[in-house]
Symmetry: C2
Subunit: 358 residues, 2 copies
């Protein structure tokens, strides 16, 4: 019997991936040249599907990298000479801040208590801040930044670039890309694809900043924004990329368009609602994020009164896999992915099992 | 009818890949956590198989990146404060040199005429050179550096780190890793895997250099050598990697070990010998690399008296795909991959078709 992965990434594959992979092998996609017309058409299909699915404005570009971790580094290299400001809600937003330090910048951090959302007190953001980093959906704690807070910060700091980590929330979260400057994700979470591909959405302001920065310092090489742009304009990548990953992204985003993004969003909310209700009613579970408006719909985190290993083990016996708490919360939390590939029936199955546990 | 890809990368998949991929899907490998014991065991299997296949010394480490292009950047970031020296035989060795420039270093270049091997005149290498870069097998021109020249340069410059681009020659080329310091490749060439994974082989001297360099400047972040090492010691990677790619690498290197590296090497030489003989005897073809000792066994390049497109088209009608000339040699050269997955029978089929062409 197959397991169902409710782990928050790598996660369950989107339910159509297996058949697309079979077709890709029959069409010998892994052997085609990354400079061929066939590859260009795959790139273009992935890009156009993403544009439609996410409603990307025309002044945005779609670039591919090896991972979202790589994008953290590329953002700092290309968009920050000295000062970035990081709202930290957990381990992943914290790691982005550390990367800015490791790259020799002088980032400022505002750290929220665990399970809470950083207060958007924009008076703390100094005038020399070049980039403000939000992790819209913290995969480690299940905290989600309200979009209006992000947009408000951008309005009060029109000179800074606003970067949104959307790793574990897209395609669900209806971001207004005109109110931010760059967003990024990796494909092994909400898109249900094999890991090994990051997607970087970048507007023209970012490109202008990189063009300006390169006059005074190195902004990297093959994956600098100007280099990515030059190739993307030909529907290509600077390096030989994860061709198969881009192919699968094109196909799965096509399937999601057919299903309809509104259906995906409504189903996500419905499934999250059921799960949070069970967690709130269960004697041994408590949603970790107290404020409802800060609770992620796609990565649901609960306290377990230190019963995590027992729960994970028992669910595992029913082939239902969920995530342990992250870092210091190991054994104390559980984390449950609620991605587009998880059907209502699967989520109900998980909820039923969990509600009778302990 | 399936095509046979003799293109020099992405290339024909290793003949066992399809069945391994099927098994990976059945075992739900793309959904497992990159922090799980199951992933650690995949990483370990890939590493140990590579160690055995390539006869890697114990003071070497095996790291994974997104591409070999990424490794160019990481080599400069981690191993060069100011001065690298680049032997350039074609477009790819040239690109490595440019990356050193883009990262703000002051590299020196020695460029050979097209189709020739850079003369190893080590008196030109200044005393402040920290790294000497060889492209052992130039995929753009089919020029291969004799190994003895590489080893000799290292002996005459014991303080510099010697880096060998082995992108399109491994696992064929029997490198003596004790006589160099780092080598690297991408998996979509000689290993016959889907693109999207680079493999970086690094000895302890490189790690020591990075540990020293980080005291004075940034050496990057998640993919710095110390960061890669810290995770590799746990059979993990800093970021969520191309898990499926690492799995397939483990399986294909296992198959290659079963076949035997000596068999692979002998077959490679045999197939290359047949192809070069036909090229030399054919009225319209000439091997581009004049000196026999500089001719690559794995990427075979021939001049075509400007008939490349006609040849490529005619072979394509028989489902045999070969590469066009690279860059300015488009239309004037053809490039033929001779990788472990190409059987003697397939190579003979190609040679037969080519010998009656034009």
């Amino acid at each position: 019997m197959k397991q169902i992965f409710f782990t928050p990434g790598p996660a369950e594959l989107y339910f159509t991936v297996k058949s697309h992979l079979k077709k890709a092998l029959n069409e010998q996609v892994p052997s085609i040249s990354h400079r061929s017309a066939q590859f260009q058409s795959i790139f273009q299909e992935a890009e156009e599907n993403l544009r439609n699915l996410l409603d990307l404005p025309d002044n945005y570009h779609v670039f591919f990298t090896g991972s979202a971790t790589e994008i953290w580094e590329r953002i700092i290299q290309n968009l920050v000479a000295k000062r970035s400001y990081h709202y930290v809600n957990g381990a992943f937003s914290e790691r982005f801040y550390r990367i800015a330090q490791e790259l020799g910048r002088s980032p400022i951090v505002q750290t929220a208590p665990a399970g809470e959302c950083a207060l958007v007190d924009s008076s703390k953001i100094s005038a020399d801040t070049e980039l403000i980093a939000f992790t819209q959906n913290e995969t480690s704690t299940g905290v989600a930044h309200p979009l209006k807070d992000i947009y408000q910060v951008r309005q009060s700091h029109p000179n800074a670039i606003v970067a949104v980590d959307a790793v574990s929330t897209l395609p669900y979260m209806p971001l207004d890309y005109t109110q931010i400057d760059t967003a990024y994700f990796s494909v092994q979470k909400g898109f249900g694809l094999p890991a090994g591909l990051g997607v970087w959405l970048v507007n023209d302001r970012c490109l202008a900043k990189a063009e300006q920065l390169v006059k005074q310092q190195s902004i990297g090489s093959y994956h600098s924004l100007p280099s990515l742009l030059a190739k993307a304009q030909k529907h290509q990548t600077p390096e030989t990329p994860n061709v198969l990953g881009i192919y699968l992204l094109a196909k799965v985003t096509g399937d999601m368009l057919t299903k309809g993004i509104d259906v995906i969003r409504n189903e996500t909310k419905f499934k999250a609602g059921m799960m949070y209700q069970m967690l709130s009613e269960h004697a041994k579970f408590t949603p970790f994020v107290e404020k409802e408006e800060h609770r992620s719909k796609t990565v649901i985190v609960a306290e377990t009164q230190n019963h995590s290993s027992k729960i994970i083990e028992e669910l595992g016996q029913s082939q239902l896999l969920i995530g342990d708490g992250y870092g210091t919360f190991k054994g104390k939390h559980i984390r449950i992915a609620n991605f587009p590939t998880h059907s209502k029936e699967q989520m109900i199955l998980l909820i039923d099992k969990m509600s009778t546990i302990l």
